[in-house]
């Protein structure tokens, strides 16, 4: 492949959710890495460069909000799409305040829709 694949970091504590999502993204031509929690995600982000982050909110140890806050603090402008099952109004407004690009409720969204949005975001 002549062109460098776009790298996506999936931060998701549920492996069974991360797996089909990762597969779908890879089938769609992305390179993915999976972090099981916020801490792992931040570690990876500090070592590697990603084009986009798919971020779950409720994760053990360091949650999605903390990851967003940390990125904001570091001035990291990597686009973040939040894919979570939290859908309280206050949570939604909070993640947008923390600089997320887009927000999906996983249960209400198909993998196709997410992939479409990813493509749209980092084209």
């Amino acid at each position: 492949m002549s062109e460098q694949l776009k790298r996506i970091l999936i931060a998701e504590d549920e492996e069974m959710i991360a797996k089909p999502l990762g597969m779908k993204l890879r089938f769609s031509g992305f390179e993915t890495k999976h972090a099981l929690n916020g801490k792992e995600a931040l570690d990876m982000l500090s070592k590697e460069k990603f084009d986009l982050i798919l971020l779950d909110l409720l994760m053990p140890e360091v949650d999605g909000f903390a990851v967003l806050a940390e990125l904001q603090k570091k001035g990291d402008s990597t686009p973040v799409i939040v894919a979570t099952n939290l859908n309280q109004a206050e949570d939604v407004s909070r993640v947008f305040e923390l600089g997320c690009t887009n927000y999906y409720v996983k249960a209400d969204t198909t993998l196709d829709q997410i992939v479409e949005n990813v493509k749209k975001t980092i084209r």
């Binding site: 549920e14 069974m16 959710i17 797996k19 089909p20 999502l21 597969m23 779908k24 089938f27 409720l58 099952n85 939290l86 859908n87 109004a89 939604v92 407004s93 409720v105 996983k106 249960a107 209400d108 198909t110 993998l111 196709d112």
Partner: protein, 631 residues
């Protein structure tokens, strides 16, 4: 007997009349006896003193055989002798000097006085008693003289004194030639004593018996009943209302007794009524007290100056003083932590007479809901203070938190497996991980749909929970409503086609004004309404759903009209309630919706300031309307 003042007067007068008659009768009797007694006097006098009289040259007088005798006593010895001789009679005799007109003396001072002023000119030789006026005519003056005839005869007035039965005589010359003798009193001793005794007795009787009788009468007729009345009054005063006065007579006192008894009876009745009322009041008070004392709610009553006038045990415990008899307003205000200044709020509302509820304050470690109500005076209806009721909502808060946690768990934990199923099925169905046979696809499609329905249910339950908590709040933004409707219509076309329902969206020719909405949520509402319309449409391939959107100056209207089964009249009033479904809906939707769709729709629409309503007739179809204000 009636106490008549006239009778008393008549009685008294009668007594006096009888007494007077008796007195006059006695006097008459006395008069009759006078002459007899005069003879007695004469005889005794003469028999005893004749010799002395004759021997004396001095004047004397006395009676002798119907004559008054006079003699002359010239020396002191004569006088003494005369006096001695007359002593046995006990009489005082006037001695007068016939010649010198001088008074010689008397043993009676009164006589002495009377006679010292008089002048005796001559003495009477012979007196004749006129029994009618007790005058004695003097016929022969010579008999009284001892040779000196130059002395003109004088009239002698003689008064007979009575002194305990003794006879005293005196004489006074008042007219020449005549001696008049007056008898004042003379009786034989026994008669006179009797007479005196009778007279005295009558006076005594009159003086003693009448008052005595009156006193006795009064005692019996007035004093005794009054005493009885008084005794009973005393008893009544002491509280013994059962006491009655004996009605002894039919007079005023009797009437008074009857009135008194009647009054007492009234008192007894009134007292009984009062006791009854008091008992009722006491019972009522007891009930109220035990209610206030035992109720788990804190109850505090304050007056207009915010002084605590009542605090029940629960209230005292809430403010950390369970042992204290009461608490002060300062105790309260310093412990209440909340967004409201309790004393300001109370002051304001107490004076304005308005109730106020404070949803949540913290007192110590616990949460309370406060209900403040103004208190009116029962009689005068003016505001006299306020009652503050404190309900411990700590448990409720905990339950609320638990519920929120459950919702959160539901949200995350239930959605997570649903998301896993969804994602993996999607991969398989897309054929990305290998070829799927037609039969496999069919089964997997159903599995996918089932999972979707589950996700839908989870979402509805979460929304309903939020509505219930009053927390269904979404950010609003300017939305072009036609876009939303178009999107939903498009998404529902496959479902309509599958159901053989003709679905038409009548797009307005010009752009409508934007409205303030949460796009996602309103989409969900329209989705629900259109889904219902299709689902419950006619099953005989004539199903028809019309979606319209239009506006006037103030409102924007969305409507979905179907020709389906309609909503039975009995269900119409409850259709927006939780878990409510038309009773005829199950045959067309056997799996069933959650019954939450319209409940959520209403909440979402109303949160955006809109309205939702419907028209429906069973068997003919329904039209649902949603309106939003154009802002």
């Amino acid at each position: 007997m009636k106490l008549n003042p006239k009778i008393t007067i008549i009685l008294t007068i009668s007594f006096f009349v009888i007494s007077s008659v008796f007195i006059f009768a006695s006097l008459a009797a006395l008069r009759r006896n006078q002459s007899d007694n005069l003879s007695l006097f004469k005889n005794e006098f003469v028999q005893t003193n004749l010799e002395a009289f004759q021997d004396s040259s001095d004047l004397f007088f006395g009676y002798l055989d119907n004559e008054i005798l006079a003699g002359k006593i010239v020396t002191q010895n004569d006088m003494d002798a005369f006096a001695v001789k007359t002593d046995p009679l006990g009489a005082n005799v006037v001695l007068m000097d016939l010649a010198g007109k001088s008074f010689l003396g008397s043993k009676n001072t009164q006589l002495t006085e009377l006679l010292s002023a008089g002048t005796v000119d001559s003495f009477i030789s012979q007196w004749t008693l006129n029994p009618n006026n007790n005058d004695f005519a003097v016929d022969n003056l010579d008999k009284f003289t001892t040779g000196d005839t130059s002395i003109a005869p004088a009239r002698v007035r003689i008064k007979i004194y009575e002194k305990l039965g003794l006879i005293v005589g005196y004489g006074k010359v008042f007219e020449t030639g005549k001696v008049r003798v007056e008898f004042i009193g003379q009786q034989n001793e026994s008669f006179y004593r009797t007479y005196l005794m009778i007279l005295l007795s009558i006076f005594l009787l009159t003086a003693i018996l009448i008052p005595l009788f009156s006193i006795l009468f009064m005692k019996k007729a007035i004093v005794d009943p009054i005493k009885r009345l008084n005794a009973v009054t005393q008893k009544i005063t002491e509280g013994d209302l059962a006491k009655k006065v004996e009605v002894g007579s039919s007079d005023e006192i009797g009437e008074l007794s009857i009135s008194f008894n009647r009054m007492t009876q009234k008192l007894v009745d009134a007292n009984r009524t009062l006791q009854g009322k008091l008992k009722e009041l006491a019972e009522e008070h007891g009930r109220l007290s035990s209610l206030v004392e035992s109720v788990k709610l804190g109850v505090v009553m304050v007056d207009l100056r915010l002084t605590v006038i009542l605090a029940n045990p629960s209230a005292r415990a809430i403010f950390g003083k369970p042992q204290a008899k009461s608490i002060t307003f300062a105790d309260m205000s310093e412990k209440i932590k909340g967004s409201v200044n309790i004393s300001q709020a109370l002051s304001y509302y107490v004076h304005a007479g308005k109730p106020l509820n404070i949803q949540e304050v913290m007192i110590g470690e616990n949460y309370y809901r406060l209900f403040m109500s103004p208190v009116r005076d029962i009689v005068e209806h003016i505001f006299i203070g306020a009652v503050v009721v404190m309900e411990d909502i700590t448990e409720q808060k905990k339950l609320d938190q638990m519920r929120t946690e459950i919702v959160s768990i539901t949200s995350h934990q239930l959605r997570t497996p649903a998301t896993i199923v969804k994602g993996n099925l999607e991969m398989v169905l897309a054929g990305d991980v290998g070829k799927v046979t037609k039969a496999q696809k069919e089964l997997l499609d159903d599995t996918y749909m089932g999972n979707e329905r589950m996700i839908h249910l989870i979402n509805d339950l979460m929304d309903a929970a939020k509505i219930n908590e009053g927390k269904l709040v979404f950010p609003l933004a300017r939305v072009q409503l036609e876009d939303v409707v178009e999107e939903v219509t498009k998404e529902n076309q496959p479902f309509a086609a599958e159901k053989h329902v003709k679905m038409i969206y009548n797009k307005p020719p010009a752009l409508l004004p934007k409205v303030n909405l949460n796009k996602e949520k309103i989409k969900q509402v329209f989705q629900n309404l259109i889904d219902n319309a299709v689902k419950y449409s006619s099953v005989d391939d004539k199903g028809h759903v019309a979606i319209d959107i239009k506006n006037d100056d103030k409102q924007l209207y969305f409507s979905v009209k179907d020709n389906g089964i309609g909503i039975p009249a009995v269900d119409q009033s409850k259709i927006f309630e939780r878990f409510s479904r038309g009773s005829n809906s199950t045959k067309l939707d056997p799996g069933g919706g959650s019954g939450l769709g319209l409940y959520i729709a209403k909440a979402v629409v109303e949160q955006a300031g809109g309205k939702i309503w419907f028209e429906s007739k069973e068997g003919e179809g329904s039209t649902f309307y949603v309106s939003f204000p154009i802002s």
